[in-house]
Symmetry: C2
Subunit: 145 residues, 2 copies
DNA sequence: GGACTGGGTTGCAATATGCAAGTGATTAGT
DNA sequence: ACTAATCACTTGCATATTGCAACCCAGTCC
């Protein structure tokens, strides 16, 4: 069912157009994929059951599909936990880390335009005063090279 | 079928969580919505038939649904064209203009991570050297206040 | 070895999407 | 003024994607 060896991270599929936004939307254009990345970036989550416990309530079949697609796209990687053979740990690749600015912009937009947002005021304040520092701090936590 | 008077732009619907990213995804989390915004922002398109002609080939029923949702969310507005009673002109609201940084980040990510991107090199270069100026130039074209 | 946990898969109903054709209000052509 | 186009949709229907609940199996705990 799944092609094992696809040496190139971003595999060639039928693309709707060469537009970079369309390209990004083919991967992130659904209600769940970016929430997984959010959990990794902002919540420090690493495991299936942690993503599954997020308050939006993703179905486990959808979650496993999205994790697989993110791995195929080269945005995240999975590793068996050496301390517990049942567990799988997911983490961001450099391509995933490069997504942080987009996620931060989207979060800021949402915080500013949702009248009932639960976004911490500190996030919005820090974004306004020191966007670059905010992004760098988040990225630093996820860099491994 | 459609509620006519909903005075508040961002109408209260069942929300999955208070998370600003989840909020944004409830509106933009699909393969087509942001493409409409892209056409407005980068291509200067304003009309149904122009969006419909985009190379990704959105179905007309989906397009009209997405335009309606964007209007309901207060991201775009529609106006009859005074020069031609058949035509409807769409344009960004301030909330739509505020989305430009997110779109620019997403486009940059896509351009850098799609090996077959058709994104103009000039866009990537300008983004790297003068992100703020690039965003300001785009925003200036769409501001009306 | 028996129960439990973690990370999934499977089957099926509900929902959303894609496609082709149609509609109704305007406008352009003669 | 009549006819043919154009524009912005809507409708109907086949297909694809989601949501939900139940199930599965390898690895751990006791």
């Amino acid at each position: 069912m799944q092609v094992i060896s696809e040496s190139c991270a971003m595999s060639r599929k039928k693309r709707r157009s060469g537009c970079p936004i369309s390209f990004a939307l083919e991967l992130f254009g659904d209600r769940w994929t970016l929430l997984v990345v959010r959990d990794l970036v902002f919540m420090g989550k690493r495991r299936f059951s942690e993503f599954s416990a997020s308050s939006e309530g993703v179905a486990t079949n959808v979650l496993s599909d999205r994790l697989r697609r993110l791995v195929e796209a080269g945005v995240i990687e999975s590793l068996g936990d050496p301390d517990d053979g049942r567990r799988v740990l997911y983490h961001l690749t450099p391509a995933g880390v490069a997504l942080i600015p987009t996620l931060v912009e989207l979060a800021n937009w949402g915080a500013l335009h949702d009248p009932d947002t639960a976004a911490p005021a500190e996030f919005v304040r820090r974004f306004a005063r020191d966007r670059a520092g905010l992004i760098e701090d988040l990225a630093a936590k996820h860099r491994r090279d």
